[in-house]
Protein backbone atom coordinates (compact mmCIF):
# COMPACT_ATOMS: atom_id res chain seq x y z
CA UNK A 1 0.00 0.00 0.00
CA UNK A 2 1.39 3.34 -0.97
CA UNK A 3 1.76 5.77 1.89
CA UNK A 4 1.57 9.53 1.88
CA UNK A 5 5.20 10.24 2.46
CA UNK A 6 5.49 13.76 1.26
CA UNK A 7 4.88 15.82 4.37
CA UNK A 8 7.68 17.69 6.05
CA UNK A 9 8.27 17.73 9.78
CA UNK A 10 6.83 21.21 9.92
CA UNK A 11 3.73 20.10 8.04
CA UNK A 12 3.34 17.08 10.28
CA UNK A 13 3.58 19.24 13.38
CA UNK A 14 1.09 21.67 11.94
CA UNK A 15 -1.21 18.76 11.19
CA UNK A 16 -0.95 17.39 14.72
CA UNK A 17 -1.40 20.85 16.19
CA UNK A 18 -4.71 21.02 14.39
CA UNK A 19 -5.67 17.67 15.84
CA UNK A 20 -4.53 18.46 19.34
CA UNK A 21 -3.87 22.20 19.57
CA UNK A 22 -3.36 22.41 23.33
CA UNK A 23 -1.53 19.30 24.32
CA UNK A 24 0.91 18.04 21.70
CA UNK A 25 3.95 19.81 23.07
CA UNK A 26 3.54 18.40 26.59
CA UNK A 27 2.33 14.87 25.90
CA UNK A 28 4.89 12.39 27.28
CA UNK A 29 6.64 10.33 24.57
CA UNK A 30 5.30 7.08 26.02
CA UNK A 31 1.75 8.33 25.64
CA UNK A 32 2.39 9.44 22.08
CA UNK A 33 3.84 6.04 21.26
CA UNK A 34 0.97 4.19 22.95
CA UNK A 35 -1.77 6.09 21.17
CA UNK A 36 0.06 5.94 17.83
CA UNK A 37 -0.71 2.21 18.02
CA UNK A 38 -4.29 2.58 19.19
CA UNK A 39 -6.38 1.14 16.40
CA UNK A 40 -9.49 2.86 17.73
CA UNK A 41 -8.01 6.12 16.43
CA UNK A 42 -8.16 6.89 12.77
CA UNK A 43 -5.12 6.40 10.58
CA UNK A 44 -4.21 10.04 10.06
CA UNK A 45 -4.36 10.79 13.79
CA UNK A 46 -2.14 7.80 14.55
CA UNK A 47 0.28 8.91 11.86
CA UNK A 48 0.46 12.38 13.39
CA UNK A 49 1.05 10.86 16.83
CA UNK A 50 3.76 8.57 15.50
CA UNK A 51 5.51 11.43 13.69
CA UNK A 52 5.31 13.63 16.77
CA UNK A 53 6.73 10.83 18.89
CA UNK A 54 9.73 10.48 16.55
CA UNK A 55 10.33 14.21 16.49
CA UNK A 56 10.02 14.41 20.28
CA UNK A 57 12.67 11.73 20.69
CA UNK A 58 14.95 13.55 18.27
CA UNK A 59 14.61 16.79 20.19
CA UNK A 60 15.12 15.00 23.49
CA UNK A 61 18.47 13.71 22.23
CA UNK A 62 19.53 17.21 21.31
CA UNK A 63 18.57 18.66 24.66
CA UNK A 64 20.45 15.89 26.43
CA UNK A 65 23.58 16.53 24.38
CA UNK A 66 23.51 20.19 25.28
CA UNK A 67 22.76 19.46 28.93
CA UNK A 68 25.71 17.11 29.24
CA UNK A 69 27.97 19.52 27.42
CA UNK A 70 27.22 22.28 29.89
CA UNK A 71 27.81 20.05 32.91
CA UNK A 72 31.39 19.24 32.22
CA UNK A 73 34.66 21.01 31.67
CA UNK A 74 34.10 22.29 28.18
CA UNK A 75 37.54 23.85 28.05
CA UNK A 76 39.15 20.44 27.94
CA UNK A 77 37.55 19.95 24.56
CA UNK A 78 37.01 23.41 23.33
CA UNK A 79 39.34 24.81 20.78
CA UNK A 80 40.93 27.93 22.17
CA UNK A 81 38.84 30.97 21.45
CA UNK A 82 41.83 32.66 19.86
CA UNK A 83 41.66 30.65 16.65
CA UNK A 84 37.87 30.92 16.51
CA UNK A 85 37.24 27.31 15.56
CA UNK A 86 34.09 25.71 17.00
CA UNK A 87 34.31 23.71 20.22
CA UNK A 88 33.84 19.96 20.05
CA UNK A 89 32.02 17.43 22.22
CA UNK A 90 32.67 13.71 21.95
CA UNK A 91 30.44 10.92 23.22
CA UNK A 92 30.71 7.15 23.49
CA UNK A 93 27.53 5.22 22.62
CA UNK A 94 29.11 2.04 24.05
CA UNK A 95 27.49 -0.01 21.27
CA UNK A 96 24.02 1.17 22.19
CA UNK A 97 21.71 3.36 20.16
CA UNK A 98 20.91 6.07 22.66
CA UNK A 99 22.34 9.40 21.55
CA UNK A 100 24.49 11.21 22.31
CA UNK A 101 25.97 8.59 24.72
CA UNK A 102 28.47 9.04 27.53
CA UNK A 103 30.75 12.12 27.46
CA UNK A 104 34.39 11.36 26.64
CA UNK A 105 36.62 13.67 28.65
CA UNK A 106 40.03 12.50 27.47
CA UNK A 107 39.91 11.54 23.81
CA UNK A 108 42.27 8.75 22.82
CA UNK A 109 42.37 6.22 20.01
CA UNK A 110 39.37 6.56 17.72
CA UNK A 111 38.03 9.48 19.71
CA UNK A 112 41.25 11.42 19.14
CA UNK A 113 41.11 10.57 15.44
CA UNK A 114 37.59 11.97 15.22
CA UNK A 115 38.49 15.01 17.30
CA UNK A 116 41.57 15.83 15.22
CA UNK A 117 39.89 15.22 11.86
CA UNK A 118 36.78 17.18 12.80
CA UNK A 119 39.09 20.00 13.89
CA UNK A 120 40.72 19.90 10.47
CA UNK A 121 37.34 19.97 8.71
CA UNK A 122 36.41 23.06 10.73
CA UNK A 123 39.78 24.58 9.81
CA UNK A 124 39.18 23.76 6.12
CA UNK A 125 35.81 25.50 6.21
CA UNK A 126 37.31 28.44 8.09
CA UNK A 127 40.46 29.03 6.06
CA UNK A 128 39.39 27.94 2.57
CA UNK A 129 35.75 29.00 2.60
CA UNK A 130 35.57 31.57 5.40
CA UNK A 131 32.84 29.65 7.19
CA UNK A 132 32.60 29.30 10.98
CA UNK A 133 31.17 25.82 11.73
CA UNK A 134 28.05 24.27 10.24
CA UNK A 135 25.84 27.28 10.99
CA UNK A 136 28.50 29.90 10.20
CA UNK A 137 27.96 31.17 13.74
CA UNK A 138 30.45 28.91 15.47
CA UNK A 139 28.05 26.31 16.83
CA UNK A 140 29.72 23.47 18.76
CA UNK A 141 30.34 20.22 16.88
CA UNK A 142 29.09 17.00 18.48
CA UNK A 143 30.26 13.52 17.52
CA UNK A 144 29.23 10.13 18.91
CA UNK A 145 31.28 6.96 18.29
CA UNK A 146 30.62 3.24 18.74
CA UNK A 147 26.97 3.61 17.79
CA UNK A 148 25.04 0.33 17.95
CA UNK A 149 26.73 -3.01 17.25
CA UNK A 150 28.68 -3.77 14.07
CA UNK A 151 26.96 -0.74 12.62
CA UNK A 152 27.88 -0.23 8.96
CA UNK A 153 27.08 3.44 8.73
CA UNK A 154 27.79 7.02 9.68
CA UNK A 155 25.13 9.70 9.67
CA UNK A 156 24.12 13.25 10.52
CA UNK A 157 20.99 13.16 12.65
CA UNK A 158 20.09 16.81 12.31
CA UNK A 159 22.21 17.93 15.27
CA UNK A 160 25.34 15.83 15.37
CA UNK A 161 27.58 13.29 13.65
CA UNK A 162 27.31 9.60 14.51
CA UNK A 163 29.78 6.84 13.61
CA UNK A 164 29.43 3.07 13.72
CA UNK A 165 32.29 0.61 14.13
CA UNK A 166 31.52 -1.35 10.97
CA UNK A 167 31.06 -5.10 10.91
CA UNK A 168 34.63 -5.91 9.92
CA UNK A 169 33.45 -7.66 6.78
CA UNK A 170 32.06 -4.84 4.69
CA UNK A 171 33.30 -1.81 6.60
CA UNK A 172 35.75 -0.96 9.32
CA UNK A 173 35.36 2.01 11.69
CA UNK A 174 33.40 4.59 9.73
CA UNK A 175 35.51 7.57 10.86
CA UNK A 176 38.72 6.24 9.32
CA UNK A 177 38.15 8.10 6.06
CA UNK A 178 38.69 11.83 6.59
CA UNK A 179 36.32 12.53 3.71
CA UNK A 180 33.53 10.70 5.57
CA UNK A 181 33.86 13.10 8.50
CA UNK A 182 33.86 15.99 6.04
CA UNK A 183 30.84 14.45 4.32
CA UNK A 184 28.77 14.20 7.48
CA UNK A 185 29.69 17.65 8.74
CA UNK A 186 28.77 19.09 5.35
CA UNK A 187 25.25 17.70 5.77
CA UNK A 188 25.04 20.11 8.69
CA UNK A 189 26.17 22.96 6.46
CA UNK A 190 23.56 22.08 3.83
CA UNK A 191 20.89 21.87 6.52
CA UNK A 192 21.76 25.43 7.54
CA UNK A 193 21.91 26.78 3.99
CA UNK A 194 19.69 25.46 1.19
CA UNK A 195 18.14 22.64 3.25
CA UNK A 196 17.94 20.58 0.06
CA UNK A 197 15.04 18.17 0.40
CA UNK A 198 16.31 14.63 0.91
CA UNK A 199 14.57 12.95 -2.02
CA UNK A 200 14.72 13.00 -5.79
CA UNK A 201 17.22 15.25 -7.54
CA UNK A 202 17.48 17.68 -4.62
CA UNK A 203 18.33 14.73 -2.37
CA UNK A 204 20.99 13.55 -4.80
CA UNK A 205 22.40 17.10 -4.85
CA UNK A 206 22.41 17.08 -1.04
CA UNK A 207 24.46 13.89 -1.11
CA UNK A 208 26.72 15.10 -3.88
CA UNK A 209 27.52 18.32 -2.02
CA UNK A 210 28.61 16.24 0.98
CA UNK A 211 30.78 14.06 -1.25
CA UNK A 212 32.30 17.11 -2.96
CA UNK A 213 33.23 18.98 0.21
CA UNK A 214 34.31 15.77 1.96
CA UNK A 215 36.61 14.79 -0.87
CA UNK A 216 38.02 18.29 -1.42
CA UNK A 217 38.67 18.51 2.32
CA UNK A 218 40.64 15.25 2.03
CA UNK A 219 42.60 16.62 -0.93
CA UNK A 220 43.39 19.80 1.02
CA UNK A 221 44.36 17.75 4.08
CA UNK A 222 46.76 15.57 2.07
CA UNK A 223 47.76 18.29 -0.40
CA UNK A 224 46.71 16.03 -3.27
CA UNK A 225 46.53 17.57 -6.73
CA UNK A 226 43.49 16.81 -8.87
CA UNK A 227 45.60 14.29 -10.83
CA UNK A 228 46.16 12.09 -7.76
CA UNK A 229 44.04 8.94 -8.34
CA UNK A 230 43.08 8.68 -4.66
CA UNK A 231 41.87 12.26 -4.69
CA UNK A 232 38.39 11.44 -5.98
CA UNK A 233 37.60 8.35 -3.92
CA UNK A 234 34.84 8.49 -1.32
CA UNK A 235 35.24 6.24 1.72
CA UNK A 236 38.51 4.60 0.73
CA UNK A 237 39.54 4.24 4.36
CA UNK A 238 36.46 2.41 5.60
CA UNK A 239 36.47 -0.62 3.30
CA UNK A 240 37.22 -3.70 5.43
CA UNK A 241 39.91 -6.17 4.38
CA UNK A 242 37.55 -8.95 3.17
CA UNK A 243 35.83 -6.49 0.84
CA UNK A 244 39.14 -4.98 -0.30
CA UNK A 245 40.22 -8.51 -1.16
CA UNK A 246 37.37 -8.63 -3.65
CA UNK A 247 38.75 -5.60 -5.46
CA UNK A 248 36.63 -2.85 -3.95
CA UNK A 249 38.68 0.20 -3.03
CA UNK A 250 36.04 2.78 -2.15
CA UNK A 251 32.34 3.52 -1.81
CA UNK A 252 32.27 5.87 -4.75
CA UNK A 253 34.69 7.38 -7.27
CA UNK A 254 33.66 10.89 -8.22
CA UNK A 255 35.65 10.92 -11.46
CA UNK A 256 34.57 7.40 -12.44
CA UNK A 257 31.20 6.79 -10.71
CA UNK A 258 30.40 3.54 -12.50
CA UNK A 259 33.84 1.94 -12.06
CA UNK A 260 33.95 -1.64 -10.82
CA UNK A 261 36.22 -0.77 -7.90
CA UNK A 262 33.31 1.15 -6.38
CA UNK A 263 31.31 -0.76 -3.78
CA UNK A 264 28.36 1.41 -4.70
CA UNK A 265 28.68 2.19 -8.43
CA UNK A 266 26.51 4.96 -9.85
CA UNK A 267 25.18 6.19 -13.19
CA UNK A 268 27.48 8.75 -14.83
CA UNK A 269 25.01 10.42 -17.17
CA UNK A 270 21.82 12.31 -16.42
CA UNK A 271 20.00 10.21 -19.00
CA UNK A 272 20.86 7.07 -17.03
CA UNK A 273 19.43 8.00 -13.65
CA UNK A 274 16.28 6.54 -12.14
CA UNK A 275 14.32 9.46 -10.63
CA UNK A 276 12.91 7.17 -7.94
CA UNK A 277 16.28 5.73 -6.90
CA UNK A 278 17.99 6.35 -3.58
CA UNK A 279 19.65 9.74 -3.25
CA UNK A 280 23.05 8.03 -3.05
CA UNK A 281 22.54 6.40 -6.46
CA UNK A 282 21.99 9.56 -8.44
CA UNK A 283 24.63 11.73 -6.78
CA UNK A 284 27.22 10.32 -9.18
CA UNK A 285 26.14 12.70 -11.95
CA UNK A 286 26.80 16.00 -10.09
CA UNK A 287 29.81 14.34 -8.45
CA UNK A 288 31.36 13.71 -11.85
CA UNK A 289 30.46 17.20 -13.03
CA UNK A 290 32.41 18.68 -10.12
CA UNK A 291 35.38 16.33 -10.61
CA UNK A 292 35.57 17.25 -14.32
CA UNK A 293 35.22 20.95 -13.56
CA UNK A 294 37.85 20.94 -10.82
CA UNK A 295 40.24 18.88 -12.94
CA UNK A 296 39.92 21.40 -15.77
CA UNK A 297 39.91 24.51 -13.61
CA UNK A 298 42.78 24.16 -11.20
CA UNK A 299 45.63 21.95 -10.18
CA UNK A 300 44.05 21.96 -6.75
CA UNK A 301 40.34 21.48 -6.23
CA UNK A 302 40.34 23.71 -3.15
CA UNK A 303 41.00 26.72 -5.38
CA UNK A 304 38.41 28.28 -7.64
CA UNK A 305 36.46 25.06 -8.19
CA UNK A 306 35.36 24.64 -4.58
CA UNK A 307 34.71 28.40 -4.33
CA UNK A 308 32.25 28.11 -7.20
CA UNK A 309 30.45 25.19 -5.57
CA UNK A 310 30.40 26.87 -2.15
CA UNK A 311 29.00 30.09 -3.60
CA UNK A 312 26.28 27.98 -5.21
CA UNK A 313 25.48 26.03 -2.06
CA UNK A 314 25.12 29.25 -0.07
CA UNK A 315 23.22 31.08 -2.81
CA UNK A 316 19.74 32.01 -1.54
CA UNK A 317 18.40 31.28 -5.01
CA UNK A 318 19.13 27.58 -4.52
CA UNK A 319 15.71 26.14 -3.78
CA UNK A 320 15.16 23.27 -1.34
CA UNK A 321 13.78 21.10 -4.15
CA UNK A 322 16.26 22.22 -6.79
CA UNK A 323 16.82 20.07 -9.84
CA UNK A 324 20.22 19.15 -11.28
CA UNK A 325 19.57 21.66 -14.04
CA UNK A 326 18.86 24.52 -11.64
CA UNK A 327 21.91 23.71 -9.55
CA UNK A 328 24.09 23.51 -12.69
CA UNK A 329 22.90 26.92 -13.84
CA UNK A 330 23.68 28.44 -10.46
CA UNK A 331 27.21 27.02 -10.59
CA UNK A 332 27.71 28.73 -13.95
CA UNK A 333 26.41 31.98 -12.47
CA UNK A 334 28.83 31.54 -9.55
CA UNK A 335 31.70 30.89 -11.96
CA UNK A 336 30.87 34.12 -13.78
CA UNK A 337 31.24 36.03 -10.52
CA UNK A 338 34.37 34.25 -9.33
CA UNK A 339 36.51 33.58 -12.39
CA UNK A 340 37.39 34.47 -15.91
CA UNK A 341 35.48 33.50 -19.04
CA UNK A 342 37.51 30.32 -19.32
CA UNK A 343 36.30 29.19 -15.86
CA UNK A 344 32.70 29.66 -16.95
CA UNK A 345 33.34 27.63 -20.09
CA UNK A 346 34.90 24.83 -18.05
CA UNK A 347 31.90 24.80 -15.75
CA UNK A 348 29.46 24.63 -18.66
CA UNK A 349 31.53 21.90 -20.28
CA UNK A 350 31.53 19.77 -17.11
CA UNK A 351 27.72 19.74 -16.93
CA UNK A 352 27.50 19.14 -20.67
CA UNK A 353 29.71 16.06 -20.34
CA UNK A 354 27.33 14.47 -17.84
CA UNK A 355 24.29 15.46 -19.88
CA UNK A 356 22.70 17.96 -17.49
CA UNK A 357 21.07 20.82 -19.42
CA UNK A 358 21.36 24.32 -17.99
CA UNK A 359 18.04 25.83 -16.98
CA UNK A 360 16.88 29.27 -18.01
CA UNK A 361 16.33 30.43 -14.43
Amino acid sequence: MAQDLSSTTHERHAHFNRLCPHCCLIVPPGVLRKYSRDTSLNSSTRKALQDTYLETERQRGLREAHRIATLRDVERFATRKANALPAQHLFDCQNRKALPGTPVLSPAGGFKTVFDTTQKVAEFYKTVLGRNSVDNKGIDLVSSLHYSQNYDNAFWNGQQMVYGDGDGELFTEMYLSPDVIGHELTHGVTQNESALRYEGESGALNESISDVFGVVFNQWLNQWPVTEPRAWLVGAGIIAAPTQAKGFTCLRDMLHPSATHCLSPQPELYSEIDPTADVHDNSGVPNKAFALFASAADGQAWGQAIQVWYATCTNRQLRADASFSEFASLTVASAEKIGATSLVAKCRSAWQQVGVPLSNT
Partner: protein, 102 residues
Protein backbone atom coordinates in the same frame (compact mmCIF):
# COMPACT_ATOMS: atom_id res chain seq x y z
CA UNK B 1 -7.74 3.08 5.77
CA UNK B 2 -8.44 -0.39 7.12
CA UNK B 3 -5.48 -2.07 8.77
CA UNK B 4 -4.88 -5.69 7.97
CA UNK B 5 -4.33 -8.15 10.76
CA UNK B 6 -0.78 -9.55 10.87
CA UNK B 7 -2.13 -13.02 11.65
CA UNK B 8 -2.59 -13.98 8.02
CA UNK B 9 0.87 -12.82 6.91
CA UNK B 10 2.76 -15.66 5.28
CA UNK B 11 5.90 -13.96 4.01
CA UNK B 12 7.96 -10.97 5.07
CA UNK B 13 10.46 -9.18 2.85
CA UNK B 14 12.64 -6.47 4.35
CA UNK B 15 14.69 -4.13 2.19
CA UNK B 16 17.32 -1.81 3.62
CA UNK B 17 18.38 1.21 1.61
CA UNK B 18 20.31 4.38 2.17
CA UNK B 19 23.07 4.90 4.67
CA UNK B 20 26.29 6.67 3.74
CA UNK B 21 27.10 3.84 1.33
CA UNK B 22 23.71 3.75 -0.35
CA UNK B 23 23.85 -0.03 -0.57
CA UNK B 24 20.68 -2.07 -0.96
CA UNK B 25 20.09 -5.28 0.97
CA UNK B 26 17.00 -7.42 1.18
CA UNK B 27 15.98 -10.52 3.02
CA UNK B 28 12.83 -12.65 2.79
CA UNK B 29 11.46 -14.94 5.49
CA UNK B 30 8.44 -17.15 5.96
CA UNK B 31 6.42 -15.53 8.71
CA UNK B 32 6.25 -18.76 10.68
CA UNK B 33 10.05 -19.05 10.74
CA UNK B 34 10.42 -15.76 12.61
CA UNK B 35 11.09 -15.54 16.33
CA UNK B 36 8.17 -14.50 18.54
CA UNK B 37 9.70 -11.07 19.13
CA UNK B 38 10.04 -10.58 15.39
CA UNK B 39 6.42 -11.59 14.81
CA UNK B 40 5.34 -9.15 17.48
CA UNK B 41 7.34 -6.44 15.77
CA UNK B 42 5.67 -7.24 12.46
CA UNK B 43 2.27 -7.08 14.11
CA UNK B 44 3.19 -3.76 15.68
CA UNK B 45 4.34 -2.33 12.36
CA UNK B 46 1.25 -3.57 10.58
CA UNK B 47 -1.06 -1.83 13.05
CA UNK B 48 0.99 1.34 13.47
CA UNK B 49 0.11 4.25 11.27
CA UNK B 50 2.35 5.04 8.35
CA UNK B 51 5.69 6.54 9.24
CA UNK B 52 7.35 9.33 7.34
CA UNK B 53 9.61 8.20 4.52
CA UNK B 54 12.56 10.12 5.86
CA UNK B 55 13.91 10.85 9.29
CA UNK B 56 15.78 13.97 10.31
CA UNK B 57 19.31 14.46 9.06
CA UNK B 58 21.03 12.49 6.32
CA UNK B 59 22.56 9.11 5.58
CA UNK B 60 20.16 7.19 7.83
CA UNK B 61 19.03 3.77 6.73
CA UNK B 62 15.53 3.38 5.40
CA UNK B 63 13.54 0.16 5.52
CA UNK B 64 10.75 -1.12 3.34
CA UNK B 65 8.81 -4.01 4.87
CA UNK B 66 6.61 -5.94 2.46
CA UNK B 67 4.03 -8.28 3.95
CA UNK B 68 2.48 -10.98 1.80
CA UNK B 69 -0.87 -12.22 3.06
CA UNK B 70 -2.34 -15.69 2.68
CA UNK B 71 -4.62 -14.50 -0.09
CA UNK B 72 -1.64 -13.24 -2.06
CA UNK B 73 -2.24 -9.58 -1.40
CA UNK B 74 0.71 -7.46 -0.40
CA UNK B 75 1.23 -4.45 1.80
CA UNK B 76 4.38 -2.34 1.91
CA UNK B 77 5.28 -0.32 4.98
CA UNK B 78 7.95 2.37 4.80
CA UNK B 79 9.95 2.52 8.02
CA UNK B 80 12.62 5.13 8.79
CA UNK B 81 15.58 3.82 10.76
CA UNK B 82 14.63 5.35 14.14
CA UNK B 83 11.27 3.55 13.99
CA UNK B 84 12.59 0.15 12.93
CA UNK B 85 12.31 -2.50 15.68
CA UNK B 86 15.73 -3.93 16.51
CA UNK B 87 14.48 -7.49 16.20
CA UNK B 88 13.72 -6.87 12.53
CA UNK B 89 16.80 -4.75 11.93
CA UNK B 90 18.94 -7.69 12.98
CA UNK B 91 17.47 -9.79 10.18
CA UNK B 92 19.06 -7.52 7.59
CA UNK B 93 22.37 -7.33 9.41
CA UNK B 94 22.82 -11.06 9.04
CA UNK B 95 22.07 -10.95 5.36
CA UNK B 96 24.74 -8.87 3.73
CA UNK B 97 28.04 -10.55 2.94
CA UNK B 98 30.39 -8.44 0.78
CA UNK B 99 29.01 -8.36 -2.75
CA UNK B 100 30.81 -10.00 -5.60
CA UNK B 101 32.56 -7.58 -7.91
CA UNK B 102 30.93 -7.40 -11.30
Amino acid sequence: MVDRDANDVVKVRIERRGGLAGLHFSVEHDYLSLQPAQREAIASLSTTAASPSTSAGADRFHYRVRLTHADGSERTIEVPEPAMPESLESLTKASHPPPART
